[in-house]
């Protein structure tokens, strides 16, 4: 059995103290130790993006990050998007546009978009398509995912008075 470490994570606003193996990936820590199973695993080698979460607000592939490396950081997963009032705008757009079929890629797509939208320069369809192309989906053919993300990116931009042309974080 490999070495163990005590780590501290903020997951969706809640503090967690966890004893993890040195080789345990962040996605395994989130899914199996924290119990946040919304984040999925489909390759474990950094290509598919199903495991995308936000680390300190930035999209990251949690299968490529070790739990110990995330020590002291703030993690957001798909479970953080909706609140008591219901789905957030991105989730709403995904269901309205039929951007999911089996739903396996969906948590990763949502977190990719949630973290990626603030970085978009002009929210054009081509720019959104490039953002979405970071993750894989086998069911939808992507068009409806691009539709939903484009819609929300433009909406959020139009509602945010601080955004100026070409701004990025």
């Amino acid at each position: 059995m490999s070495e163990r470490h005590l780590i501290e994570l903020q997951v969706n606003g809640e503090p967690h103290e966890l004893l993890v193996e040195a080789r345990e990936t962040l996605v395994d820590v989130l899914r199996h130790r924290v119990g946040a199973t919304g984040t999925h695993v489909a390759c474990e080698h950094g290509i598919c993006g199903a495991c995308t979460v936000l680390i300190d607000g930035e999209p990251a592939r949690s299968c490529l990050v070790l739990g110990v490396m995330a020590d002291g950081h703030e993690i957001r997963t798909v479970e953080s998007l909706a609140d008591e009032s219901g789905l957030n705008d991105l989730q709403e757009a995904f269901t309205a546009c039929h951007s999911l079929q089996c739903g396996f890629c969906t948590p990763g797509m949502l977190m990719l978009a949630e973290g990626g939208i603030p970085h978009l320069e002009d929210t054009s369809r081509e720019e959104v398509r490039e953002l979405v192309s970071a993750n894989l989906c086998r069911c939808t053919g992507y068009e409806t995912i691009v539709d939903a993300v484009e819609q929300v990116a433009q909406q959020r931009r139009s509602e945010d008075p601080t955004v100026t042309e070409g701004a990025s974080a």
């Binding site: 059995m1 919304g38 219901g86 089996c102 490039e130």
Partner: protein, 789 residues
């Protein structure tokens, strides 16, 4: 928020009702097999063959068992598991029966074949245990092509198949075929090759099994398209009664056919769980999913087609060889690809004479399962290239060659003895061509050509038999004959309805569409209906979801069950309201009197009587509200159809194919939920494009597969996918209850041939014809520069 939309006449059928599965899947509350955690759960991984073909001399698991965290390790001899046998009722010349052991014992036949199962306290420790295993082999030369497998004196993979042929059928052989070739104005010759693909559901295969001592039952959670077939195969293999296995399918991350066969790992996990007395979970990793699960589509078609001067399709002769890999899959058998191809050609075209030979050949590769479309993407690609080539040779517009031969009168009994129900073959072609024309693509192509750019436009016309009933599968001579489905419906005390279906949604939105059918059938709000699926204890039998059968067959069973329940409600209401049945109707979740429409009994009021005041029920009516119905398709099934078109541009420097525009006109009869149908079309087309341009698993001379990760098996991203312009025609199915035809596979079936046709159209000035998918940039570049491919 999710206000249900009503269609024109206020019904749910035909409306793009928001998907009821979405809220949980969007919030991370979906539950997939790996999300289930059972108390005391252990983790399994498999020791897999490192050689493609060989005899196992020794399996040494001592170091494995001594590995920290490992609880147990079992090789074939350590667990009692009968082999899986997928059989056809055909004579030996046509079908050679072979078996697939759950764990390989004396022979290994492909790299990745499971040899032993390791059970450990953590997934990491299970992998450590696998690493520690030692297997000794006597290695044979790997057989990695059908030519090598069929060569005289080739070593046989299975004793039962002495010539390495699983299936060999010769069909039709219409009298006069040879003469038709002699008198033909043009003969088109074509050889089409299709690369080996992985269906690649994003969720890999998985199993979580637990022996429940209290129920004397093994509970197996697994993402399968065919829960009851997994139950049957597992019970037979581990030697327990059918009722001692309960298969539960939670949320499922896609299947596309790969999960409609029974995997040996599911059974091994079940047997191991029973032995260790603890829950055992196995989650397939991506490497195993790519190399050791099920693949598909490696086929060669050698064809000749005879045409009259006016374009009439006179005769067609074809030899189909399918590389099925090492084993025959359960329940479909290795016949799945050659029988589909031989039996269903010539598709949408009238034809004078037909002769076909279809063979399934054994090689040292991972075995084949059905994959979305099964052979139809390949033979449609063949037939559409033939139509285009006939146009070139006859100097006719290739679309007119198609028009000359498309079936236009229905029902139509084809040369292949299949009777086609009404469709819109010609209309879909006309509309699709019009859409391409409206956007000016023909002119743009001419201009581009004049500037030396390579733009091509390709079309594919096709139909897809959906809703194969028992008789259609029986005609294939399967020993396990899928076909019918059963639905069970009940109304609870509060008037809410639970409907159970033997179908198994894994992205197709059945929780929404089946509820739409019930809501219309009973005239109540969709929020009062819940679909239950994926639990073999909840329904006696069912064949799950594959071959675009669920809406056609499962949907009809659901509708019949709803109707039966509605009749029970009316009968009780007639008694309580002291009137006769003709005076009553179902409306807004109530039974209304026609003569005094304000007088009504709500379903809740009726249900209360049925359960809590049974003494008020009419004589002879038993308490409770519950009905069961089944549905089968007794004729040849129902055919969806479509025409697709693509505009592509070839990059002269790199040979890359860029899709500029994509069109699809589809007709799946009554669309229960148009948005869902469009989703199936778009997703299906994406998978067809993937096969046409990007994906292939190749094997080296030692039988080592080329793809072990997403680095080498490149599935398309959003950057490679075009936006698709869709249009719908509606020719309802006249044989079933809903009018719906299947919609699951058509997108894929047409897309491969559409893309190849477009690329070949672009290459016309070079005089080169590509006849292989995936179409690689190298092949395109060679064609453009006159080099060899």
């Amino acid at each position: 928020m999710s206000e249900p939309k009503m269609s024109r006449d206020g019904a749910f059928i035909g409306a793009s009702v928001r998907r009821r599965e979405d809220p949980r899947l969007l919030t991370g509350a979906g539950r997939f097999v790996d999300d289930i955690e059972l108390t005391g759960q252990l983790h399994a991984q498999f020791v897999r063959s490192k050689v493609a073909f060989g005899r196992i001399l020794d399996v040494d698991l001592e170091a494995t068992r001594a590995t920290p965290g490992v609880v147990a390790a079992f090789a074939a001899d350590d667990l009692v598991m009968a082999p899986i046998a997928a059989l056809l009722d055909r004579p030996f010349e046509q079908f050679r029966p072979t078996e697939m052991p759950v764990l390989a014992h004396d022979t290994v036949r492909f790299i990745g074949e499971p040899i032993a199962i390791v059970v450990a306290r953590t997934p990491y420790a299970a992998e450590d245990g696998v690493e520690a295993a030692r297997v000794e082999y006597e290695t044979f030369d790997a057989i990695v092509s059908t030519d090598a497998a069929l060569a005289h004196g080739a070593r046989r993979l299975h004793d039962g198949a002495p010539d390495n042929v699983f299936v060999d059928v010769s069909l039709f052989d219409t009298p006069g075929l040879d003469e038709a070739f002699e008198r033909a104005a043009q003969v088109v010759e074509m050889t089409i090759d299709s690369g080996r693909q992985n269906a690649l559901p994003l969720e890999t295969r998985a199993a979580l099994a637990e022996w429940d001592e209290r129920e004397s039952q093994l509970v197996l959670h697994t993402p399968t398209q065919v829960p009851h077939l997994v139950r049957t195969a597992t019970a037979a293999s581990i030697g327990v009664p059918e009722r001692a296995v309960r298969v539960i399918v939670p949320d499922m991350g896609g299947g596309f056919g790969l999960k409609c066969v029974v995997g040996r790992e599911e059974i091994a996990v079940a047997a191991a769980a029973k032995r260790v007395g603890k829950p055992v979970k196995w989650i397939e990793d991506r490497k195993d999913a790519l190399t050791a699960s099920f693949l598909a589509r490696e086929q060669r078609y050698v064809a000749r087609a005879a045409f009259a001067a006016d374009g009439e399709f006179l005769a067609f002769e074809c030899d189909v060889v399918c590389d099925m890999g090492a084993y025959s899959c359960y329940p479909f058998t290795a016949g799945i690809e050659p029988l589909m191809a031989s039996g269903e050609m010539p598709g949408v075209y009238r034809l004078g004479a037909y002769r076909v030979r279809g063979r399934a050949v054994a090689t040292n590769k991972a075995p084949t399962a059905p994959y979305r479309g099964v052979s139809r993407p390949q033979y449609v690609m063949l037939l559409e290239q033939i139509m285009d080539q006939a146009g070139r040779q006859l100097r006719m517009d290739p679309l007119d060659v198609r028009r000359r031969n498309l079936i236009t009168e229905f029902p139509y009994t084809s040369i292949n003895n299949i009777t086609y129900d009404p469709g819109s073959y010609l209309e879909s072609l006309d509309l699709c061509e019009q859409m391409v024309r409206e956007e000016g693509w023909f002119e743009r192509q001419a201009e581009a050509r004049a500037q030396g750019r390579h733009i091509g436009i390709g079309f594919a016309c096709f139909s897809e038999r959906t809703g194969y009933g028992s008789s259609a599968f029986a005609a294939r001579k399967m020993l396990v004959v899928p076909g019918f489905d059963i639905s069970d419906i009940r109304m609870d005390l509060d008037g809410t309805v639970t409907v159970t279906s033997g179908t198994m949604s894994h992205g197709q939105s059945h929780e929404t569409t089946m509820a739409q059918i019930v809501a219309d059938g009973l005239q109540l709000d969709i929020s009062r209906v819940k679909l239950h699926q994926g639990d073999t204890d909840r329904i006696t039998y069912g064949f799950g979801t594959f071959a675009s059968r669920s809406a056609v067959i499962g949907g009809s069973a659901v509708q019949l069950a709803a109707r039966a329940l509605g009749e029970d409600l009316l009968e009780i209401a007639a008694h309580l309201m002291e009137t006769n049945l003709d005076n009553l109707e179902l409306r807004d979740g109530s039974v209304h009197r026609r003569d005094t429409p304000d007088e009504r009994l709500t379903f809740e009021e009726i249900a209360r009587v049925a359960y809590l005041e049974a003494h008020r029920l009419p004589k002879g009516v038993s308490p409770g509200l519950h009905a069961t119905a089944s549905f089968d398709v007794t004729n040849d099934g129902t055919f969806s159809n479509a025409t697709q078109a693509a505009v592509v541009e070839l990059d002269p420097d790199t040979g890359a194919v860029k899709i500029l525009r994509y069109f699809c006109v589809e007709d799946c009869g009554v669309a229960i939920n148009p948005q869902v149908v469009e989703g199936q079309a778009r997703g299906g087309i994406a998978q067809g494009i993937a096969g046409a341009l990007f994906e292939e698993v190749t094997y080296d001379a030692n039988g080592e597969p080329s793809c072990a990760s997403f680095m080498d098996y490149c599935i398309p991203t959003a950057m490679e996918m075009p936006d698709i312009r869709l249009a719908h025609l509606e020719t309802p199915c006249i044989y079933n209850e809903t009018g719906a035809k299947g919609a699951g596979e058509g997108g894929t079936i047409g897309a491969v041939g559409t893309i190849l046709g477009a690329v070949n159209n672009a290459l016309e000035p070079t005089g080169t014809l590509l006849e292989r998918t995936p179409i690689t940039p190298r092949a395109v570049h060679a064609a453009m520069t006159g080099g060899t491919r």
